[in-house]
């Protein structure tokens, strides 16, 4: 068992200086959302500007806070108590913020990428009638996400956790007229709630055993939990993480979530919200350190998910859905990394950051392409777009290269580090997890190259086609508000990895929160892994070129395909499984219960009433209205009474 209290725990200073206003981080976007929602149409003209301004202001404040914290020595961890949220005797849920390297890193990611995407949305959503509402929801999301990462206890985390779920629900269902958007939004919220259930029960266990839900006290006293309890908590938190981060077996909602507008996919379903699961596990590292079994399950989930995501990503023809499965798979890498424990926490966070840059960039590029193509998402109807939209092409390609791990771009540093760390596990684990991660890298290279060929290279297949609404395609480069964020994110995709990993900058910075980054040497050496992954990725690119680059592609998707492709096109039957296991039995159960309630339970009530009423109805018939028959019954009654009296007398 590892030292449970590594890193973050004891002696948390109260906030002073710049940090004492940290609530502004949350309050600014929350204020923006409130004004935009309450203001209604009056804010139509300037609503989007307010939305951007609040997030940019948060970002600026976050940067100031960041440099202030760098200037500090020692633990660099402090807490800001705002008010007692739910105080009942032994339970005291504080509403407080925890400022430490981990949360500040996320603050910068969320507000930074968030700002860029807010700006991008000005252009992307320019034609939408309710644009201010969109910005209100985006602001709401940023506020909730900041609460998620800044909260100083599991309950505040849960607050943010469900808050981002709400924002995600609202934004996925943005296109109100599309029924599938509403269904996707509902599905996302429901599957998230299943995960939240795990998180909630985990919190209950912590309260029962430790009497608190605040990070500081929980982490300091992890040692008091029994082994079984620790494992239970780790698994339950993992369930929460699976829901939010689209991990196996709760991955099915994320691709459907692409029904939302593209900036949403970039911000929420690629860069920030879906990585909350990774944050949760990294944040709860003292608990995970205490349970090797728990971490093993985390690793298994991560490895399974990254493979599933890759495979399905190869088969889809929808631009954004391929990227969505790519996100699923990349988060699988992060989960695998944090499952590795102290050798991986920082690596997971590093990949999370670089992924935030390049995946957001890839999504924005996709959005730019779709924006220029009458909102067409089918990559088989694209091709050769690099001539028409050069900036999008270049920035997208940089993101693509970063993702497949092209040497010295971001992904090369962050992803390869994870694969190397996976191979450094001892024994069979090293081979299994390292192997899965390396295989994933190869498939990633394959499906991303496929996208590149089908969308930007090759022959333009859209020239003879019309979009669904009957218009011809006139692909064009997007405006400045859209290209500038893409360029900035491309810069991040190129440079972030090198910057964060040189001299272990990020790992050292995060060590007060996550503990020092440890190294271990397992089945394969780092250098060997490095070349192995490069070779595999190159192989993936080559195969993709053989299939998709060499010869022209058909517009219709091929129907005669192997079993594997068909399975992948059906999400490896994940949705069918959900349908068969939960949805259909649930529908039947509901119908049966409604029947039972109406006919059975209520039937009993109405039945007893009917019985009473019916028998009274029978008895009523005795009242004939004929005086003489009443007289007869009186007579008979009198005779009967007399007879009875006589019987008693003479017996």
């Amino acid at each position: 068992m590892l030292d449970p209290a590594s890193g973050s725990s004891d002696a948390v200073a109260a906030v002073s200086g710049v940090g004492s206003l940290a609530w502004l981080l949350l309050a600014l976007p929350a204020f923006g959302a409130t004004v935009l929602l309450l203001g209604g149409r009056r804010t139509d003209k300037w609503g989007h500007l307010l939305g951007c301004a609040t997030v940019i202001a948060s970002f600026a404040y976050g940067v100031a806070l960041f440099f202030d914290t760098i200037g500090q020595t020692g633990e660099r961890t402090s807490e800001l108590h705002l008010f007692d949220w739910v105080p009942v005797n032994a339970l005291n849920v504080e509403f407080g913020l925890r400022l430490d390297p981990l949360s500040l890193t996320f603050v910068l990611l969320i507000t930074g990428v968030g700002s860029l995407i807010h700006i991008y949305s000005i252009g992307y959503m320019a034609h939408e009638a309710g644009r201010r509402k969109f910005f209100a929801y985006l602001n709401l999301f940023v506020a909730a996400m900041l609460l998620l990462v800044l909260g100083n206890g599991f309950v505040t985390l849960y607050f943010g956790w469900e808050g981002v779920g709400l924002a995600s629900y609202l934004l996925i269902g943005w296109y109100q007229h599309k029924p599938e958007a509403a269904s996707a939004a509902k599905k996302a919220f429901l599957m998230n709630r299943v995960g939240d259930l795990g998180l909630a029960i985990g919190i209950f266990i912590l309260f029962k055993e430790l009497g608190t839900t605040q990070y500081t006290e929980v982490f300091a006293r992890v040692g008091e939990l029994s082994a079984a309890e620790v494992t239970a908590v780790t698994l339950l938190l993992l369930l929460g993480a699976c829901g939010k981060s689209g991990q196996f077996p709760l991955q099915a909602w994320l691709p459907d979530a692409m029904a939302g507008p593209t900036p949403v996919s970039a911000l929420i379903h690629a860069a920030t919200m879906v990585t909350a699961g990774v944050y949760l596990i990294a944040r709860a590292n003292p608990i995970y350190n205490a349970s090797a079994d728990g971490r093993l399950v985390v690793m298994i989930i991560g490895a399974v998910t990254l493979i599933i995501g890759c495979i399905i990503g190869c088969a889809y023809d929808d631009f954004k859905k391929v990227l969505a499965y790519s996100t699923v798979s990349q988060i699988g890498y992060m989960i695998l990394a944090v499952g590795l424990g102290p050798v991986g926490y920082a690596l997971g966070i590093m990949h999370l950051l670089t992924h935030g840059f390049f995946k957001a960039g890839l999504f924005l590029g996709a959005g730019s392409v779709m924006h220029g193509m009458n909102d067409e998402g089918n990559i088989r109807r694209m091709g050769g777009l690099w001539r028409k939209m050069p900036i999008t092409f270049v920035t997208w390609t940089l993101g693509y290269l970063a993702l497949i791990g092209f040497p010295f771009l971001s992904g090369y540093f962050s992803k390869d580090a994870i694969i190397a760390a996976a191979f450094s596990e001892p024994g069979w684990r090293g081979w299994v997890f390292g192997g899965a991660a390396a295989l994933g890298a190869a498939i990633t290279a394959f499906y991303m190259t496929r996208l590149l060929f089908l969308v930007f290279l090759g022959k333009p297949r859209w020239e003879d086609l019309k979009s669904e609404d009957g218009r011809e395609y006139h692909p064009h480069e997007s405006g400045l508000t859209m290209t500038v964020p893409m360029i900035l994110l491309a810069v991040g995709s190129v440079g972030a990895g090198a910057f964060l990993s040189s001299g272990n900058t990020l790992a050292n910075w995060l060590s007060p929160s996550l503990g020092a980054l440890q190294e271990q040497h397992g089945v394969l050496d780092h250098t060997v892994v490095n070349f192995l992954v490069l070779g595999l990725s190159a192989l993936g690119v080559l195969v993709a070129w053989l299939f998709f680059g060499r010869r022209p592609q058909p517009v219709e998707r091929p129907q005669r395909v192997s079993f594997v492709v068909r399975a992948a096109r059906n999400d490896l039957y994940g949705n069918a499984l959900n349908e068969a296991l939960f949805a259909r039995p649930g529908t039947w159960l509901t119908r049966a219960l409604v029947f039972v309630d109406n006919k059975g339970v209520d039937g009993l009530v109405n039945g007893s009433a009917a019985l009473l009423g019916g028998s009274s109805g029978r008895l009523r018939r005795l009242q004939t209205g004929f005086v003489r028959s009443y007289a007869l019954s009186m007579l008979l009654g009198a005779i009967f009474v007399l007879g009875a009296l006589l019987m008693v007398r003479f017996s």
Binding site: R620, R621, R628, L632
Partner: protein
């Protein structure tokens, strides 16, 4: 004296009255039969008073007569009223008070 004959007469009168109430339809006749029953009871009351030598039975008989007289007033009025509205004195025709 033997009370048997008086009591037998009383029982006979009572039975006549009861049968009359049960079988006759004309309200007036039914009414008369009720009077017959009342008077049969009066007869037995007086008989028992005579046997026991008390005044209770005789007083009771007077009570019954007074009540019967009052009843005749009310009853005949009702019968008259019914006859006026329905043109019938049959008790079976006025059977509205039923289920």
């Amino acid at each position: 004296m033997t009370p048997t004959y008086y009591l037998l007469l009383s029982a006979l009168l009572f039975s006549l009255g009861a049968v009359g109430v049960l079988v006759r339809r004309n309200a007036i006749v039914v009414f008369m039969c009720i009077e017959l029953m009342l008077n049969a009871v009066n007869l037995s009351l007086v008989t028992f008073a005579r046997i026991n030598g008390g005044l209770g039975g005789q007083v009771m008989a007077f009570f019954v007569m007074v009540v019967a007289a009052a009843e005749v007033v009310v009853g005949l009025t009702i019968i008259m009223a019914i006859f006026k509205t329905r043109r019938s004195a049959s008790v079976d025709d006025s059977n509205l008070l039923k289920y």
